[in-house]
């Protein structure tokens, strides 16, 4: 299978790329579940481990917003600060707690945890994702600690026997192989939604939950005029 096929193909009608250290991906989870449940379909959830330092510079804070170390330009800071404000207002309206991260995390172990949980069904996968996001974003989950990730896997309902080996072996290999072709397929952020190619229609890639109306329109056979991008209304019950 080519890299492009790997990134854009699935047996599921929708691929969703997420990263647990992204607040935008966190905010997309509820609306995405809502869509999947409404259409009675399941998604192929995949990790996309963002290399934030490579494109947005690095930074470390003390947890109260005080910058301890930064290699970001003023414009990068402006952009990052807006992004957090934007996420927090939607999180607040939904009753989600979202505390800014104090460093740029390596979320690959949590992503491999997702690959493990997928083997045990959608219910386990959803539970794992919910637990990971909720706890990480209130700073109660160290996603760089294999034993912590393993505990969440267990709590989500997946067996943990063999998980440690998976983290270091097959899981890591699967995770890294998934990352490799993404940029060449113009998949660079999360959440990214991919509607795999079907018949003559090529795969369609969408970055951001604002595209969920278009994703829904495509998955339901393009009824009526195409919708524009839109976030959920503030206070939507997701």
């Amino acid at each position: 299978m080519s890299g492009e096929q790997l990134a854009l193909s699935s047996d599921a009608p929708l691929i969703v790329y997420i990263d647990y250290k992204s607040p935008y991906a966190y905010l997309a989870i509820g609306p995405t579940y809502h869509l999947l449940d409404e259409l009675a379909i399941e998604a192929d959830w995949r990790p996309l481990t963002l290399d934030i330092v490579s494109y947005a510079g690095s930074a470390k804070t003390d947890g109260k917003g005080q910058v301890l170390k930064s290699e970001r330009s003023p414009k990068q800071w402006q952009s990052v600060k807006y992004a957090y404000r934007d996420c927090k207002r939607y999180a607040r309206a939904r009753g989600l707690e979202l505390l800014g991260t104090t460093k740029i995390w390596d979320s690959s172990l949590a992503g491999i945890g997702l690959l493990w949980c997928k083997q045990y069904g959608q219910q386990v996968t959803r539970r794992y994702t919910e637990l990971t996001y909720q706890r990480f974003w209130i700073r109660e989950l160290d996603i760089e600690d294999a034993s912590v990730v393993s505990a969440v896997v267990n709590e989500a309902g997946a067996p943990v026997e063999g998980f440690a080996d998976f983290l270091m072996g097959d899981g890591r290999a699967q995770h890294d192989a998934l990352q490799e072709p993404l940029l060449d397929c113009d998949i660079y952020g999360v959440p990214t939604f991919v509607i795999p190619a079907s018949g003559d229609a090529p795969a369609e890639v969408f970055f951001g939950r604002e595209h969920l109306p278009m994703v829904r329109w495509l998955l339901t056979g393009q009824p009526g005029p195409a919708p524009d991008v839109a976030y959920e209304r503030l206070g939507a019950d997701y």
Partner: protein, 207 residues
């Protein structure tokens, strides 16, 4: 009051224009249209700028190139599905003159009408927004000859100061993308927020 900051060379500004007008009409909110210049950061949609390179690129450069390609494709996809004609920009445009024309039209409460005339023509590559003659002709169409004939003098007099004031306001607010919306001191980038803006403007939002 809704303040809308728009870079006319931003394709997303164009894609947002009609739905923003619809929002204004539905809510009856008083709107201010404020022109901004984001430079190249707001004009990712240039011919030939696909970010592809035969040279080895850093991971960060690859990321930025992928982002640029995707945003270009995405804008074209939405424009196409909404039936809008758009021609990729063939270069970066100087926007001081066109921004002055928008501020000039605002003096007659006609910024929206001027943008409605300007944006489709510019994005069909039928309007030179660096041409004072072309912009004056467009102002004549929107404002009438009597009001529009003052534009050339305005550009060289009050226009400099008034545009500088708008630019200073945009800098103060922290505008880094187009379109941007400001309501009750709260800033939003992108037309994806229009539902939220409507809820805020009608008092139907949870904060």
């Amino acid at each position: 009051m809704l303040s809308i900051f728009l870079d006319v060379t931003s394709i997303n500004g164009y894609l947002a224009f009609s739905s923003t007008c619809e929002l204004i009409d539905r809510t009856g909110v008083q709107a201010r249209w404020l022109p901004v210049s984001l430079g190249r950061s707001g004009s990712f949609w240039l011919v030939g700028e696909d970010g592809m390179s035969d040279e080895p690129q850093s991971r960060g450069a690859q990321h930025k190139a992928a982002r640029k390609r995707h945003l270009k494709m995405d804008a074209l996809r939405y424009a196409h599905r909404r039936g809008l004609d758009v021609v990729p920009l063939d270069r970066s445009w100087q926007t001081e003159l066109v921004n002055s024309a928008i501020v000039f039209a605002s003096r007659s409460d006609a910024a929206r009408a001027f943008l409605a005339a300007l944006l489709p023509r510019f994005w069909r590559a039928e309007l030179d927004i660096e041409s004072e003659t072309a912009l004056t002709e467009l102002l004549v169409n929107v404002l009438g000859h009597e009001l529009a004939q003052g534009f050339p003098d305005y550009v060289r007099s009050d226009g400099v100061r008034e545009l500088a004031a708008v630019t200073a306001e945009a800098d103060e607010v922290g505008i880094i993308d187009s379109p941007a919306y400001l309501v009750d001191g709260e800033l939003f980038f992108g037309r994806q927020h229009l539902l939220t803006l409507e809820a805020l403007l009608t008092g139907d939002a949870v904060r």
